[in-house]
């Protein structure tokens, strides 16, 4: 209903704006029939529309104006200056009312009767403020919005994508043409404009994921009722925004996952009771943004996946061999749920059959460049996580070549890039298959040349090997002739006959104007008929196990000054772009505003003048800090032979990775020196009572007290420490509570005065610390 009213108000406001010209024209020439008709249509529409809503004032006003104008149109009344003024006054009032309704401001003048009387000609001519121009109310503050059709937005988006491609083509032609500084400058400006427009339009297409989530409570309720189950649904992150088209693409997979969770995950109340769980199952659906991806998580507290049954079925169906099944890790067993045709549901219900359709869910999510991950704990529940890109149209990609042709690979699926002839890779021919052993892993190798049938390559060892992880499937190695570039590519869907090949996800245009095919990592695995399960190279080998232990997974990046650095992946919460204006010196150090939080910023000495800064959001589990950097280079697993830095600092030391010196961040040092010490009381926090009616205490003292680990309560509540003003009578302290008196004059009042001057910070902190230790000992 609110939406409808908002639509109506927006529409009325638009009509008023469009009408302003007609009103002025009619005022100068009341005999102008066309203008009269236009104004009549306006009041008529407003009257008709407010009939649907409880808007009596608007209805009365428009009704009166409509009647009067109808009389004029019928020739029964003269459009004299009095009438014109009266009608214009009514229209102005309509504008004011609309404005007031939209912004929630108090309504303008309450007196409509006079205006109506003037219009109907039953009152003496009224002096209407001549300056009340209809444009004035619209110019006041308030939400300014217009309505656009989604189709138009889609056209704009495809238009701007074309503009990007046209720009790229122009760039190519400029490179071939003789250099002209003026032309290049103009081109740079054009490029910047297009980039801005692209960003703006991308944002217009963003929609809150609420649009998708709002239907969930009803769906879960109905499902639970059908199945005789009780489900408590918790939805979080509805404010996360993503591309409208993307929302549509994840609607079905999400619905399917939730149906599965309610149908097969959450047990019937009786079973839950016997498992010692509350009768109502809990289902949590949440969304959050992580870099340029959106994570949508569905977690239930049901029975979890019966991994054993899944493996038995997989063996029975011939998907994996019994021997391979023995060696499956728990995660790999759970991932079997994405295998087509496997279901652990004893009987397939009308709602869903877990397993049946999960392969479809994965396929659908991967088609849009996303991933599905599953984590199940028997008896405790299942957590399914969908990672999808923010938009469908622009994805980070790696360009590679094979058989003399360039292809693109979605960056999201790439685990690692290796030199085929490097020391870490061994390629062997096993029967007709090829197997690559990369450190401790043994994965199937697909030669892109062979797959594409573009002709045999020369030599065995040249080229690069890319480890690809297609969603929940097994990692495999793809050999290509060369790896070229990381690029953000504007991806368009490929035509059906091209998609039918099964190994492509879309097309794009290279800077040189030639079309490039985007490869689909899952499709390639399916076409090559790879086993879905990865095998460890030699599980018995103790050497391998030791090696594994010494390895760390590192995020390699370029610092702002261009040095190659690394941070343990586990400490990196996410990567974000922060606008320059969100960075500044405050409270003595450089800080960045990231979303709702303000984080200490390391990695740079001064805020950037403009543009955006990329940051690593590092987390130690409790606090976070931002670390500015330049570019992500890679994610690598590496055994580190660290040469420690001579003195403690940002860099723990330097190690060689692939023959290149890499500085390893000392994350501990960063946290120790950048994050404000959070003092936590042992056991329960000490409680401090502060007079609530003293503004200085509430505003200035309280934060200090809290920063030292106290929980602050009002006076009269049991507390470990009671703070009082020295100028007032001491309050009656509770048993065991200590008293701290604070005076406002710097001078102590005699020798027995144990109060502390309010700005003697050192003494205050010392006293609070001392008493907190004492207070905690009591508690």
């Amino acid at each position: 209903m609110d939406d409808l009213i908002n639509d109506f108000l927006a529409e009325t406001r638009e009509m008023l704006q469009a009408l302003s010209g007609a009103i002025v024209a009619w005022e100068t020439d009341p005999a102008d029939r066309a203008r009269l008709d236009e104004i009549f249509r306006f009041v008529h529409t407003v009257k008709g529309n407010c009939g649907f809503f409880e808007l009596p004032r608007l209805r009365q006003l428009s009704h009166a104006a409509e009647d009067a104008l109808a009389e004029v149109r019928a020739g029964r009344r003269e459009a004299d200056a009095t009438l014109v003024s009266a009608v214009l006054a009514v229209i102005d009032r309509i504008g004011e009312l609309v404005q007031a309704l939209e912004t929630g401001e108090p309504l303008a003048s309450e007196d409509d009767e006079q205006l109506i009387a003037a219009v109907t000609g039953t009152a003496a001519p009224l002096l209407v403020e001549a300056q009340a121009s209809p444009a004035a109310p619209a110019a006041k503050k308030g939400m300014r919005s217009i309505r656009l059709s989604v189709e138009l937005l889609d056209r704009m988006m495809s238009g701007v994508s074309d503009a990007v491609l046209a720009r790229n083509e122009l760039a190519r032609r400029l490179r071939d043409a003789p250099r002209d500084v003026a032309v290049e400058a103009a081109f740079e400006r054009l490029s910047a404009c297009i980039a801005d427009i692209r960003e703006a339009i991308t944002r217009t297409r963003m929609q809150r994921i609420d649009n998708l989530f709002s239907a969930l409570p009803r769906m879960v309720r109905d499902l639970a009722a059908d199945l005789g189950k009780q489900v408590q649904l918790q939805v979080e992150g509805g404010e996360v925004e993503l591309d409208r088209e993307m929302i549509e693409m994840i609607r079905d997979p999400l619905t399917h996952i939730i149906r599965n969770a309610v149908d097969h995950g959450i047990e019937a109340p009786v079973d839950r009771a016997s498992a010692g769980k509350p009768a109502a199952g809990r289902l949590k659906v949440s969304a959050r943004q992580s870099g340029n991806q959106i994570l949508i998580e569905v977690a239930d507290d049901g029975r979890g996946i019966d991994a054993d049954a899944l493996v038995r079925r997989a063996v029975a169906a011939g998907t994996i061999t019994g021997e391979a099944a023995e060696r499956l890790s728990a995660a790999d067993s759970n991932a079997l749920i994405f295998t087509p045709g496997l279901s652990t549901a004893g009987e397939v219900t009308t709602i869903s059959g877990r397993g049946v359709g999960m392969d479809v869910v994965r396929a659908n999510v991967e088609r849009i460049g996303g991933l599905v991950e599953i984590d199940s704990r028997p008896g405790q529940g299942v957590r399914l996580c969908m990672r999808v890109p923010l938009t469908l149209t622009i994805i980070p990609a790696l360009t590679v070549s094979a058989g003399g042709q360039t292809f693109a690979l979605p960056r999201a699926a790439i685990e690692e890039i290796l030199r085929a002839s490097g020391p870490t890779v061994r390629v062997e021919r096993v029967g007709d298959a090829r197997v690559a052993t990369v450190r401790d892993r043994r994965v199937a190798l697909i030669d892109l040349d062979d797959l594409l049938g573009t002709g045999p390559r020369e030599g065995e060892n040249d080229g690069r090997i890319i480890l690809l992880k297609p969603g929940a499937g097994a990692t495999y190695a793809l050999r290509v002739d060369a790896v070229h570039d990381h690029e953000e590519l504007v991806i368009k869907p490929a035509a059906p006959p091209v998609m039918a090949a099964g190994i492509y996800a879309g097309t794009t245009l290279a800077d040189d104007g030639r079309p490039i095919l985007l490869l689909d990592p899952s499709g390639i695995a399916a076409q090559a008929q790879l086993a879905t399960v990865e095998q460890p190279a030699d599980p018995e080998s103790p050497a391998t196990a030791n090696e594994e232990r010494g390895q760390a997974t590192l995020l390699l990046f370029k610092s702002l000054d261009g040095r190659l650095r690394a941070a343990p992946v586990g400490t990196v919460e996410r990567i974000e772009d922060v606008p320059a204006e969100a960075i500044g010196f405050s409270a003595g150090r450089l800080r960045a505003r990231v979303g709702e939080r303000i984080l200490p910023l390391a990695g740079c000495d001064s805020p950037p003048a403009s543009g955006r800064l990329r940051i690593l959001r590092l987390s130690d589990g409790a606090s976070q800090l931002a670390y500015a950097f330049g570019d992500v280079v890679d994610v690598r697993k590496a055994a580190l032979d660290l040469q420690p830095a001579p003195q403690p600092g940002e860099i723990a030391g330097v190690a060689l990775i692939d023959g290149q010196p890499v500085e390893l961040l000392d994350v501990h040092w960063l946290f120790a020196s950048h994050v404000e010490a959070v003092v936590s009381g042992h056991g329960r926090p000490a409680v401090c009572a502060i007079p609530a009616d003293d503004p200085w205490m509430a505003n200035m003292l309280r934060p200090l007290v809290e920063s030292l680990g106290y929980r602050v309560v009002g006076e009269g509540v049991a507390a470990d420490l009671v703070i009082a003003s020295a100028e007032e009578a001491p309050p009656i302290a509770a048993q065991g509570a200590q008293l701290l008196r604070i005076r406002s004059s710097a001078e102590a009042d005699g020798d027995n005065d144990d109060s502390i001057y309010r700005y003697d910070r050192a003494a205050l902190v010392a006293a609070l610390r001392r008493r907190r230790a004492g207070g905690a000992a009591h508690g």
């Binding site: 059906p496 006959p497 091209v498 039918a500 097309t507 079309p515 490039i516």
Partner: protein, 144 residues
Amino acid sequence: MAELLLIVRLAGRRIACPASQVEGLVELEGIVPVPRAAPHVAGLSALRSRVLTVIDANAALGFQAEKDAVAGDAIVVPCDGHHYALRVEAVEDVVEASAPPAPMAAQAGRGWDRVALGMVDVGADLLLLVDLRRFIAGSPALAA
């Protein structure tokens, strides 16, 4: 209301197609092959920052595909939101049909049957009228 017809030469025949199905003519250059696609998909080409899927008319009819053709004339056929370039040997003319198309009086022949809409009188000639969009799906015989 006479229909506008485009007269082209493809797969060795002179045929007519509804001009309404054709967005334009293009001279293809630099076709990027699409490995593993059906034989009638000759590759991709760029037209004004747009990707065209190039269809080989011979292969679409189930005949032998043209060998190593990297350039040549094509007509641009939009279909279901995608743009295709159907390779033709020559584009002859755009004419107004002198009469509505008639059903085929004889079998159009292997391959042609699937794309034929009927026969149409164009000036002095009787030509096969084809549905260009049926070229895009390719030849079922080859796909099987």
